[in-house]
Amino acid sequence: MILANYLTAATLFCLGAFAVLTRRDLIKIIMGLSVMEASTYVLLVSMAYRRGATAPVLAARPTGVTEKDLAHGNVADPVLQNFCLTAIVIGVAVTAVFLTVAVRAAQHYRSVDSNDVRGLRG
């Protein structure tokens, strides 16, 4: 629960959305989506954090933390961090497909302007 992080996540999301809505360059649209995606990671990692929490590595007890603290869950939530990892892996795959499509589109249309790539309409 860190307010600054939430605001960062929201700002990043809006910046990415702004790029997707206003940039016609296909590559910039992809970058915008990547920024939006990054905002979800910031949000999740922030949601995983609790006041005074340590990293969720429970191999050895960190100094100054009793076993009772650990039992009461005074570590950052590993589940959300785990989702973050899953999403990063998926995100990399999607970005790869994205860029492949953009490259092929550039080869076919000789342009990366989304206004030139709109044969399907109506």
């Binding site: 795959a93 709109r118 309409r121």
Partner: protein
């Protein structure tokens, strides 16, 4: 070894197949699709074995926790696969229809390159596996993962046939919109977890507060917007008509008949099963609203299309709208009707897309204005398309009549205005299909086509099976309603029972008193009036110039990916405002 332990297998088989297929392509050209067919046959076999337990009596639950991480004192950490009559029915539909579509792919596209065939078989199996898993899972983040797997496979399939540059364009739009939908689903599921500590649908149902807080409603808005994009409901639909146009017929059939349904199913599960009336705000009213708008505008845009596959895709938007309205009514007749319509839509839309794909493949013509005269040149395809069109139009004796009738019956008592609009949407749908059937198939055509290939054997098998399905589900509705649609709808209408069953590994489904009465004169008259009005509308529409509002509506679909993303984000904001405000 119990039966429920076999639950992951129907998903695992096609996943393995999708790995093997590209390798097998090196040995023989036909091997990848043969592997796919075998894998799907295996999935269908396992799922069929489970139907005996799940559909016994009024319906049972079959729950499996992966790696046997079962819930402890009502807290589930493991991922649950829960075969209820709804999810199992959908998974079985995916397996059986997927098998048919793979057979038709094999017969129509068996002569393309080895590497292409390997990739095609691999992506198709990946998509089918993800859809089956998405239907079976009872876990909010697991459903996100399958959503993304299905999305990745669908990107690949949309952009697969690079000989048409529009395939790339469609793939790009699909990528942008579905990626954003993925973010929404992801944040929604994570928010629910972080504020209520639950991922399992059953546990979430118990953990959600009795009155809707801001956080739960924001999460609901994100989940609805995300899955509505997959379902192609307005205003999240920008990718759908484009993605259906450039791909081969069987792949369009796969998208329209099976993939978009996943979105609707997920929305129904989350809104009806995870949330409950006290904490979902105006979610049902909202879904009814966007559903009926999709049903109407989708039908209008279908009526205005010249490209045959695009027309069918717009009709999918319309039908998904109707399904949303049916599920959102929360009324037993309408929900049973919606479940039945989901099944029927898969059958007749797959049939229509296979026909459209076969025509495009055989003649090279994609536009209705270039077609015509196919009754004489491709009689089997013409008969198949006609059966599909009659089913959609709700002609008595075909399956659409029963399911649309049930949805309308449910709406009539609760929401007369929505009922009237649904009737109007149905009239326009009839007109759109009548116009397409006339222009594409029955209209006389003097000049010969450059080439007309024969209908291949695999296609005949697929056509025959689907026609049989359309007619059987129309002539004998009550066994299907009583044994399949009724228990499936009952799962959605009894959320506490679902939550208990998922967390305790077993449970039974209550019976709903819903039957379809074929002899009801008023239904019959309404259906016949709809068809008559629809045919009149089609005849009128063929003779007049495109009306101004339709032109405006078409201009709104500019084809620019920025605009479509804008519509989707506006839709997300709108959903959020309605739910929280």
């Amino acid at each position: 070894m119990t039966l429920s332990a076999l639950l992951p297998l129907p998903v695992v088989l096609p996943l393995f197949g999708s790995l093997l297929s590209p390798l097998a392509a090196r040995i023989h050209r036909r091997l990848p699709l043969a592997i796919a067919a075998l894998a799907l046959l295996g999935s269908a076999g396992f799922l069929t074995a489970m139907t005996r337990t799940v559909y016994a009596g009024h319906g049972h639950f079959l729950v499996h926790y992966l790696s046997a991480e079962r819930p402890v004192r009502g807290k589930a950490l493991g991922i649950a696969f829960a075969a209820d009559p709804l999810g199992l029915g959908y998974a079985l539909l995916v397996a059986v229809l997927g098998l048919l579509l793979i057979i038709s792919l094999l017969s129509e596209f068996g002569d393309i390159g080895k590497r292409e065939l390997g990739g095609l078989a691999s992506l198709t199996q990946l998509l089918l596996a993800a859809l089956m898993a998405g239907g079976l899972t009872a876990d909010s983040v697991n459903i996100f993962v399958w959503f993304e797997v299905a999305a990745l496979a669908s990107y690949g399939l949309t952009g697969f046939f690079l000989e048409r540059p529009i395939a790339l364009e469609a793939a790009f739009k699909n990528l942008v919109l579905t990626s954003m939908a993925g973010f929404a689903v992801f944040i929604g599921a994570a928010m629910l977890y972080s504020s209520h500590g639950a991922l399992n649908f059953g546990q979430l149902h118990d953990a959600l507060p009795r009155s809707g807080t801001q956080a739960t409603l924001v999460a609901l808005a994100l989940l609805i917007a995300g899955f509505a994009t997959k379902a192609g409901v307005m205003p999240f639909h920008g990718w759908l008509p484009d993605a259906h146009s450039p791909v081969p017929g069987p792949i369009s059939a796969l998208f329209s008949g099976l993939m978009v349904n996943f979105g609707i199913l997920a929305i129904a599960r989350i809104v009806l099963l995870v949330y409950q009336p006290a904490n979902r705000g105006h979610a049902l009213g909202l879904l009814t609203g966007i559903g009926i708008v999709s049903a109407l505008l989708g039908a209008v845009l279908a009526l205005a299309q010249d490209d045959l596959k695009r027309l069918l895709a717009w009709d999918t938007v319309s039908q998904m709208g109707l399904l949303t309205v049916g599920f959102a009514s929360d009324e037993q007749h309408a929900v049973v009707g919606a479940v039945y319509h989901l099944l029927n839509h898969a059958l007749f839309k797959a049939l229509l897309f296979l026909c459209a794909g076969a025509v495009v493949h055989a003649t090279g013509a994609t536009k209705l204005s270039e077609m015509g005269g196919l009754l004489r040149r491709r009689p089997i395809t013409t008969v198949a398309f006609t059966v599909g069109a009659l089913s959609i139009s709700g002609v008595p004796g075909f399956n659409g009549y029963v399911s649309v009738g049930l949805i309308h019956e449910g709406l009539l008592d609760r929401e007369p205005v929505i009922y009237a609009l649904a009737l109007l949407a149905q009239v326009i749908t009839v007109a759109a299909l009548a116009r397409a059937t006339w222009l594409g198939f029955y209209r006389r055509r003097e000049q010969p086509y450059e080439r007309v290939d024969r209908t291949k054997l695999g296609m005949r098998v697929a056509f025959g099976t689907l026609i049989l399905g359309c007619i059987a589900f129309g002539v004998l509705p009550n066994p299907v309603v009583a044994d399949v649609a009724d228990p499936a709808a009952s799962v959605l209408l009894h959320p506490p029972a679902y939550a208990r069953a998922v967390l305790s590994d077993s449970g039974t489904v209550a019976k709903l008193p819903v039957m379809f009465d074929y002899g009801k004169l008023s239904d019959l008259l309404v259906a016949l009036a709809e068809i008559a009005l629809g045919v009149i509308l089609a005849v009128v529409y063929l003779r007049v110039r495109e009306p101004r509002p339709v032109t405006w509506l078409r201009r709104l679909h500019t084809g620019s990916v920025n605009d479509y993303a804008g519509y989707a984000l506006t839709g997300l904001a709108l959903v959020g405002i309605v739910l929280i405000g």
